[in-house]
Amino acid sequence: MTAVPATRSASPARRRPSMARARRRSAPYVFVLPFVALFLAFSVYPLVYTFRLSFTNWRGVGAAEWVGWDNYTYLLTSSQFWASLGNSAVLWLLIVPIQLVVGVLAAVLLNSVLVRGRGMYRVAYIVPFVTPLVAVAQIWIVLFDQNYGAVNAVLGSVGIPPVGWLTTSEWAKPTLALLFLWKTTGFIVIILLSGLQSIDNSLYEAAALDGASRGRQLWSITVPLLRRTIMFAVVLQTLAVFQMFAEPFVVTQGGPYGSTTTAGYYLYNHITRADLGTGAANSFLLVVLVMALSLVFVRLLRAKD
């Protein structure tokens, strides 16, 4: 606050008002210029570039040949493309419902006055979200190793034979889903908790004065006001699950038998094969899908409100 002196009489701005006004008019352009420059260079230009690229068969060298909608029709009739979307959809089903149930449960419990140590829980729950994904993915590989992993050691101690968590196509998806759940559920709890805390206490008091029962208060105040936060969390996680890349990249390399080749990982495959035109088309299809899914959830959110 020391930057605001009390004396205002001898200000140069008073003496030269027109120049000050001119500076004031040009200042915002100067302030946003760095952002605009980077935006044009590293967002607009590449976007236009991908769009054009998606209609060519360019492989990174030589001349690009215009192929019209070929890349799009190739993808839309490719079983691999649909399998990658299917894998992401299965992961979504394994992740989002569980995360919501556990998340809402934990948030409501943490928000109740009866539970002690709320601060400690909040901190501990967010630890997985803060840790670097690659480091944790490495730990996952070790923990879930079929022969030497700690998870199978625990199961073995109660007589359950070793499970091929990362080596069988039926278990690889749940194991990756568990990694994703571990990494982000605490974050969802914190979001839901802040949603709960933003519910004005006076609403409950007013409702109680009007003679509403506690059950009525839960149904008429807590649930409707939290629903918005819940749908928000769903949109957020849907975007994240369909773009999932680092988890299969580090832990399973998309295997076994392509069972963890997610939509995001499949896209990366085009890059490694230098099949850039198809990759560009795949990017756009994925964006359209992700945007459409978000819109559907936003609509649901509006309808329920």
């Binding site: 946003v32 690229l53 670097p132 480091a135 490495q138 990366y268």
Partner: protein, 308 residues
């Protein structure tokens, strides 16, 4: 699961503290309360166990990690895994590259994002809505759509495996502008006008009036930015995966390919031990920062959640 679900309702009912219960109801409440505590505690253990297991195991003799994954004997504490890991893995190089990217990319975001946000929050100018629309589009665009063209762009510029490629794309984070705009909008206009009348330049107003006032928001932004840059993986692995340029996360990821290629016998034990040592050491800087700045972290993460 069903008993805990039932307890949720009581907890919420109990949320606005009410009249005294009859003894029987109180007893039932105690049971549900206990159930709630157990549920929260189990979740806490689940969240901390993998990290704790990895950090502790890294201090065990390599052979013991795979032979007795669940046994922890403080008398056989060893640093061998760390010593070997530092010999085999270019992890210091990874730390150094990450630090360089953090300083420059983080610095650019921390300076230019609030500056642009200040223009959006406190000025009227032609094209403002158009440019802010660009911010929103950048915010909503899935990162994957830009990866291929950005990579090609970097190839054209000759920037593959350079610091520029790691630093410049996305350096002025759209989310940071979006968030700081909200924070700066709350700064009273009278404060800015007073400074203006006193002859403060437009940038001076930002630097000497706005920045000191929004310091808590900036702290939140700083920790969020550090976390995002430190943990960033997809772009670095695609554009700068050479050994010399690899950031910490990229170094860690190639370790994984090593281990899957060496799944047999003693080799596996050694590689596993080194891998756990490397992963543990990568966790430490962020965990220390997190514990020191919990409040700012949680504020930053909450604000950050509007992204997407």
């Amino acid at each position: 699961m069903t008993t805990t679900t039932a307890s949720v309702e009581t907890e919420v009912e109990a949320f606005p503290p009410g009249r005294a219960r009859r003894p029987r109801a109180a007893k039932r409440d105690l049971g549900r309360h206990l159930g709630a505590q157990v549920f929260l505690l189990l979740l806490l253990i689940g969240f901390l166990a993998p990290v704790a297991w990895a950090v502790l195991s890294a201090f065990k003799p390599a052979a013991d990690i795979i032979r007795y994954p669940l046994r922890f004997d403080p008398t056989v504490f060893t640093l061998d895994n760390y010593v070997r890991m530092f010999e085999d893995v270019p992890i210091m190089n990874g730390f150094l590259n990450t630090a360089i990217v953090l300083v420059f990319k983080g610095g650019i975001t921390m300076f230019f994002a609030p500056l642009a946000a200040y223009a959006f929050a406190k000025y009227r100018f032609a094209g403002k809505n158009l440019i802010f629309g660009a911010v929103l589009i950048t915010l909503m665009l899935p990162t994957i759509v830009l990866i291929i063209p950005l990579l090609l762009q970097m190839k054209e510029l000759g920037w593959v495996n350079t610091y520029q490629a790691l630093i410049l794309p996305g350096a002025i984070d759209a989310f940071a502008i979006f968030w700081m705009r909200q924070v700066i909008a709350a700064v009273p206009d009278e404060l800015l006008d007073a400074a203006r009348v006193d002859g403060c330049s437009e940038f001076g107003i930002f630097w000497r009036v706005v920045v000191p006032v929004i310091r808590p928001g900036l702290a939140g932004l700083a920790v969020l930015t550090i976390m995002n840059i430190y943990n960033d993986f997809v772009w670095p692995v695609i554009v700068a995966s050479s050994e010399r340029m690899a950031t910490l996360q990229v170094v860690l990821s190639t370790l994984a390919q090593n281990i899957t290629g060496n799944r047999i016998g003693a080799d596996y034990a050694t590689v596993t031990a080194e891998l756990l040592a490397a992963s543990s050491i990568a966790l430490i800087p962020l965990l220390v920062l997190f514990i020191a700045l919990q409040r700012h972290f949680i504020n930053g993460i909450l604000a950050g959640s509007v992204k997407g």
